[in-house]
Amino acid sequence: MKKKFLSAIFAMGLAVSSFAQDTAFPDMAVPDLQGNKVDVKALSSEGEPVVLAFWATWCGPCLLELNAINDKMDDWSSEANFKFYAVSVDDSKTVSRVQPKVNGSGWEFDILLDTNNELKRQLNFSTPPYTVIVKDGMVVYKHVGYQPGAEDLLFEKIKEFSN
């Protein structure tokens, strides 16, 4: 009886999700490394799409992804117009390693801190790596996980939304 109920919930959830197109990006400002709050939703309505790559200092695949993106960022920026943020979901245990790691790895991009994971919760993903593209306040693309080479697919999507 309980198993049937559970399957019904899942079927409902999957059915609802199969119609999923774009969902609204949550209304919340996230601080950068200097403590200044960034309103991603508002930013995404100013003409350029905003790309958010969620990561953590302890997430191996995330570091592979950001190192790969860092190497290609110069080329990407000259070919398309977009804003890129690497959003760290490191909490108080590991957040002190974020700033030195970012600079010590030679990364050029902007970092946002989602320390109590409020944005992560609102976006409903399980663990990093997780990437979203936000345009005009809506989440137009989402991708879970990272495999070497996935950054090329991400760039195809960025070009698509930055026309």
């Binding site: 309980k2 198993k3 109920f5 559970l6 919930i9 899942f10 409902m12 959830g13 999957l14 059915a15 609802v16 999700s17 119609f19 999923a20 197109q21 774009d22 969902t23 609204a24 949550p26 209304d27 400002a29 490394l33 200097q34 403590g35 302890w58 997430c59 191996g60 592979l64 190192n67 909490d91 108080s92 245990k93 590991t94 002190s96 390693r97 700033q99 030195p100 790691k101 970012v102 600079n103 010590g104 790895s105 030679g106 109590n116 994971n117 409020e118 919760r121 609102q122 976006l123 409903n124 993903f125 399980s126 989440v139 989402k142 991708h143 996980g145 495999q147 070497p148 080479g149 697919l153």
Partner: protein
């Protein structure tokens, strides 16, 4: 709620009455298999699953949501048996205006670093201490926030006996006096957290309220230097022994200091923390370890400040923070620190090579406080006195890209681990040396192979281990792996077990399905600094995550 979900099926976009739906599903199921070698018997309900469905609805400035949890037919091994049902676990309604943000229902919050208050969710280790009540946040300008909250922490599908209430004020003093100065910031914050729990026992004048305070100050500037400090005072209350309160009242305190400097290509950070009697619970009886095996009803966040390792053998001996009073071991807290250095050898330089090399050095060192107990169970301790050594971890990691297709991460770790303090076993502390080689070869932009070789050397406990893992990524969607942890050095030849694993996953956009079969080494699973014991187990694991 489900009725609304059903009616939305007729829309191409999940669009109901002008608002939008979003949500996520996460499901982990295990089918445990008997394992003679490990002495693992199939538990009652050999098939178990933890399922979470979260739905959010957003309409302009309002949003509402719920999280439905189902533990069917019972929760996975290692989770509290309070998770024994299937129903709506958390729900909320929220209004977000220009300066006012009001939430009623379940919410998550953190004051400062979390040492005085934090409510969060971590499904992997069964933590969800969200507060059910009311929270108001007021931001009069973009550099000041004032928060107030009151409610009860979640406990299983209910709430704790005690109530928690708090106020937090934070502002940037530089911008307070000069609105246009974005180059430097001096943040100052103050928090108050009050706890109340009715007492119906026999002791007279038993304190039903505890008052906790914290003060914090932080500096960061464009020159690359930053520093912050936080001091917390925990109100006094008796300790509990089998439910009976001590005559003495014990208060607590914590000091956290963090300093760092970073510029392009180099970063260094040092953290110092001292905690004395800092375990905080929103229900008195949960403060006794025997009553609380699953980190339930906690009010604050006191993680182990050590590096979070992510390889099989580097997670064999994991430090667990020791903020609490322990009369058996005569310990009242911990003191120590952690340091991180990151350096990037640029492309073209001598050590950098053609593609660059990254170096990361980390060291953490933790001791007990030097406390002297008196016959009446009161104790004395000095502030900067280092007592018994609990743990140290020194590790070096070199990340090098050799060619366009091949890169490697080599890690060496040296650890000191006091089992008596960590696991309550009378055993001499151990020293372990671990080496890990992690190699990645990219065939093309869609296929790659990753290979790990690891070795752990120690003269105590189960002695030496060797581990290997091979993983293949196919077409950006599939992943297959096979691996083994082999305890080849065990003194007892019959116990030289292989903890093998094999599995794969499929991921597309925001959906991922993974299947694993193998032997899980028992012990502490630590995620984000909070640990719980997972019994050794063998079997299949199926996990599904989807975001919509």
């Amino acid at each position: 709620m489900l009725g609304i979900a059903a009616s939305s099926l007729s829309y191409a976009q999940i669009d109901v009455a002008g608002g939008t739906f979003s949500g996520g599903i996460e499901s982990t199921s295990q089918w445990y298999q008997a394992d003679e070698d490990l002495g693992f018997e199939q538990p009652d309900d050999p098939f178990r699953s933890n399922n979470y469905i979260r739905l959010d609805y957003n309409y302009g400035k309002f949003s509402a949501g719920l999280q439905y949890e189902a533990y069917l037919p019972s929760a996975l091994l290692g989770y509290s048996d309070r998770f024994n049902d299937n129903k709506i676990a958390t729900y909320y309604v929220n209004y977000k205006g220009e300066q006012l943000d009001i939430t009623a229902g379940n919410f998550y919050e953190q004051f400062g670093s979390g040492l005085i208050l934090r409510s969060w969710e971590d499904r992997q280790i069964g933590i969800n201490n969200s507060i059910r009540g009311v929270k108001v946040a007021y931001t009069p300008n973009d550099f000041t926030t004032i928060k107030g909250l009151i409610g009860k922490n979640r406990l299983g599908f209910e709430t704790t006996e005690g109530t928690v209430g708090g106020v937090d004020v934070e502002t940037n003093l530089v911008r307070l006096f000069n609105k246009e100065n974005y180059n430097n910031s001096v943040t100052a914050g103050f928090s108050y957290v009050g706890q109340h729990e009715d007492y119906t026992g026999a002791v007279e004048d038993f304190p039903q309220n505890i008052n906790n305070y914290s003060l914090r100050l932080g500096y960061s500037g464009i020159a690359g230097i930053y520093a912050n400090a936080e001091y917390v005072i925990k109100g006094e209350q008796p300790a509990l022994f089998s439910g009976n309160p001590t005559e003495n009242y014990y208060d607590g305190n914590a000091l956290l200091v963090n300093l760092g400097y970073s510029m392009k290509g180099f970063g260094i950070n040092a953290t110092f923390r001292r905690m004395e009697n800092m375990a905080m619970y929103s229900q008195r009886d949960l403060s006794e370890t025997a009553q609380n095996l699953y980190n339930e009803g906690i009010v604050n966040y006191v993680p182990a400040l050590t590096r979070q390792h992510d390889y099989l053998l580097t997670n064999m001996y994991v430090y667990q923070a020791q903020p609490q009073l322990n009369f058996d071991l005569q310990e009242v807290g911990e003191i120590g620190g952690q340091m991180d250095i990151f350096y990037n050898f640029a492309k073209g330089s001598f050590l950098g090579g053609k593609y660059g090399t990254k170096l990361a050095v980390n060291a953490s060192y933790w001791n007990g406080l030097n406390a002297t107990f008196n016959d009446d169970l009161t104790y004395e301790t000095n502030f900067f006195d280092f007592g018994r050594k609990f743990f140290h971890d020194v590790n070096v990691e070199v990340n090098k890209k050799w060619t366009d297709k091949f890169s490697s991460i080599i890690t060496y770790m040296h650890q000191y681990y006091d089992r008596a303090v960590m696991e309550g076993i009378t055993y001499t502390p151990l020293v372990a040396n671990v080496v890990v080689g992690d190699f990645l070869y990219k065939f093309d932009s869609k296929n790659s192979l990753r290979f790990e070789l690891q070795h752990l050397q120690t003269k105590r406990d189960k002695k030496n281990w060797a581990a290997a893992l091979v993983e293949y990524n196919l077409n950006q969607k599939w992943n297959f792996y096979v691996g083994d942890n082999y305890n080849y050095g065990n003194d007892d030849e019959d116990k030289r077990y292989h903890y093998y694993m094999v599995g794969g996953s499929y991921a597309k956009e925001s959906t991922r399905v993974a299947l694993n079969y193998g032997r899980q080494r028992g012990g502490l699973i630590c995620v984000g600094g909070v640990c719980r014991y997972v019994p050794e187990n063998t079997g299949f694991t199926l996990s599904l995550v989807k975001t919509f």
